[in-house]
Amino acid sequence: MQAFIVNRILQSLIVVLVMTLLVFAGLFVIGDPVQMLVSPDATDIEKEAVRQSLGLDQSFVVQYLSFMRDALHGDLGNSFLTGAPAMDLILKRMPATFELVICAMILATGIGLPLGILAGLRPEARSSKTIMAGSILGFSLPNFWVALVLIMIFAVGLGWVPASGRGETVQIGPIAVSFLTLDGLHHLILPALTLSLTKMALIIRVARAATREVAGQEYIKFARAKGLRKNRIVGVHLLKNIMVPLITVIGLEFGRTAAFAVVTETIFSWPGMGKLLIDSILTLDRPVVVAYLLLMVVFLVFLNLVVDLAYLWLDPAAREKGRD
């Protein structure tokens, strides 16, 4: 088990290393940030001065190596635009995004999993077909459109919830959260719902497919032959076996959503990381973009590790193999 984790961490380090190189090179070729920073009528000498002060006059290799050296010391550079440490900018925005994404995933799993199991248990029933048709809608409707329609109905039309912002927050240590106040919850519900729809659709489909497969297994029939109650058969025997594929989907979708909740955050003016990323890309604020992507890579790699550990917990046979 420990060997497994160490192994995974080493693999992850390589992934992170490759990612830094890719991101750095990508942004290096995209454009010249100096053009965005100086006023349009600046002289070449002034531009050159800015370039030198940011270290942009060096060769790619030198820039990369100095970036890596700083990064190893925990310094991912300062924003070209504001001069603030890139890391601080991101970390300040992180809780808002995570709160939104966690709520979205809870919604998606809490609603999608039971619906998927239901549809899988009775594939021919009309209710199941309705659920599946709904999941296709959830897949195909673009996020921004869903967001706008939800705003039109619930914020503009019915006036039940506000259309933008984070509302009142409560401070827990260094982190501000919305979900503990009624006002915050009101602000949270629409963006979380928007973000959850595609995940919900995906979870429904995966849960349904897995349920259909597991429900046909002999051990389910044996469980019925033992006279177990239906709740126990579905809630324990079936659920534990369909969780393996579902954990993958839930884990990876969580990561993807957290990293790229951009559209939803923008529409609802949710002050999260996604908004920061878009702004930084537009201004070619390289340190922030690089720091952001690096952080996300580390986060996704970590999430993958958690998913793998969850497998081991769910599947005793795999646990045995991991031990050898």
Binding site: Y219, K221, R224, A225, K226, G227, L228, R232, K240, L314
Partner: protein, 338 residues
């Protein structure tokens, strides 16, 4: 095999009321092409401590009969008629919840492949304790003690450790013993064993057969042993029932059926079993293939594969008494090939 010697009448008198009485059971499957009559008018009786071998090829309806008794027929299948009386109580009239209380308590089932019947993600103890607690309000500790005793009974060494194990940590024979222990947990009146040894090594097979036989005798549990393998049941069953295309074609004591098979199909089955006398000779084979349940020939379902078939066979023969406890569904019972 003392029961073999008894005539039907004396056995009835000795054993009192049957544990299980199946009357004209029909289990049909509605498919797009029509109704498949997987079980079509089956009558069976089973007494305390008795082992009945239910023999037939795949598709003959032997397993469906077992599942019907368990109440595990799922749509598109349905019980279209007949009665299943367990100690006089008609199971076909029970609600789902009433049926659940019977399953695993009064009737237990053992399945074919022990590597598939135990849930791979749950410990043995979990799967045993839940089987006790589904039918009785007792503490987990009590249920666990019962589980341990049951493992002891089926000859599993160091049951305490096995209880903590996951199924993949046990061998195939061990897993089947666990499945048998689960079946015995609630001291059922009847066990339905659906080819319980087919997936096991031959050496383990005979052990399991011997153990199940002994357990049934000791506890008075009746058992239906569903199999396609006549050789397996011949040594253990008190009576045999042979099924073909959803109907019982021959039933009798094991001795009667094995020594003087009356139905041409039973004789065909006997001929295809390798035995000492047939050594070195080509095994007999029943010509043709099992007919589709959707397109059965009119009259006797077997007539298209039967050497004795004639005009009489275009009408369905009744299951008629042939010799003491032996009944045969054939217009030409006991006749040898022409």
């Amino acid at each position: 095999m003392s029961t073999d010697m008894m005539s039907k009448e004396t056995r009835d008198a000795d054993l009192g009321a049957p544990v299980l009485k199946i009357e004209k059971l029909c289990t049909w499957f509605d498919t797009r092409e029509g109704t498949a009559r997987a079980v079509d008018g089956v009558d069976l009786e089973l007494y305390e401590g008795e082992i009945l071998g239910l023999v037939g090829e795949s598709g003959s309806g032997k397993s469906v009969t077992g599942y019907s008794v368990m109440g595990l027929i799922d749509p598109p299948g349905r019980i279209a008629g007949g009665r299943i009386l367990l100690d006089g109580r008609d199971l076909t009239r029970l609600s789902e919840e009433e049926h659940r209380r019977v399953r695993g308590k009064d009737i237990a089932m053992i399945f074919q492949d022990p590597s598939m019947t135990l849930n791979p993600t749950l410990r043995i103890e979990t799967q045993m304790i839940e089987a006790v607690r589904a039918h009785e309000a007792c503490s987990t500790a009590q249920a666990r003690r019962r589980a341990k005793d049951a493992l002891d009974m089926v000859g599993i060494p160091s049951p305490e450790e096995r209880l903590r194990a996951y199924p993949f940590e046990l061998s195939g024979g061990m897993r089947q013993r666990v499945a048998i222990a689960i079946a015995l947990l609630n001291k059922p009146r009847l066990i339905i064993a659906d080819e319980p040894t087919t997936a096991l090594d031959v050496s383990i097979q005979s052990q399991i057969i011997y153990e199940l036989q002994t357990l049934c005798r000791e506890t008075g549990t009746a058992m239906i042993w569903v199999t396609h393998d006549l050789a397996v049941v011949a040594g253990m069953a008190d009576r045999l029932a042979v099924m073909y295309a959803g109907r019982i074609v021959e039933v009798g004591t094991t001795k009667e059926v094995i020594e003087q098979p009356g139905h041409p199909y039973t004789r065909g089955l006997m001929g295809s079993v390798p035995m000492h006398e047939t050594r070195g000779r080509r095994l007999a084979r029943i010509p043709g293939a099992t007919p589709s349940l959707l397109h059965l020939p009119q009259g006797c379902s077997f007539r298209e594969r039967c050497a004795l078939a004639d005009k009489a066979c275009t009408r369905m023969p009744e299951l008629a008494q042939h010799h003491q406890a032996q009944s045969i569904r054939c217009w030409h019972p006991g006749e040898t090939d022409r």
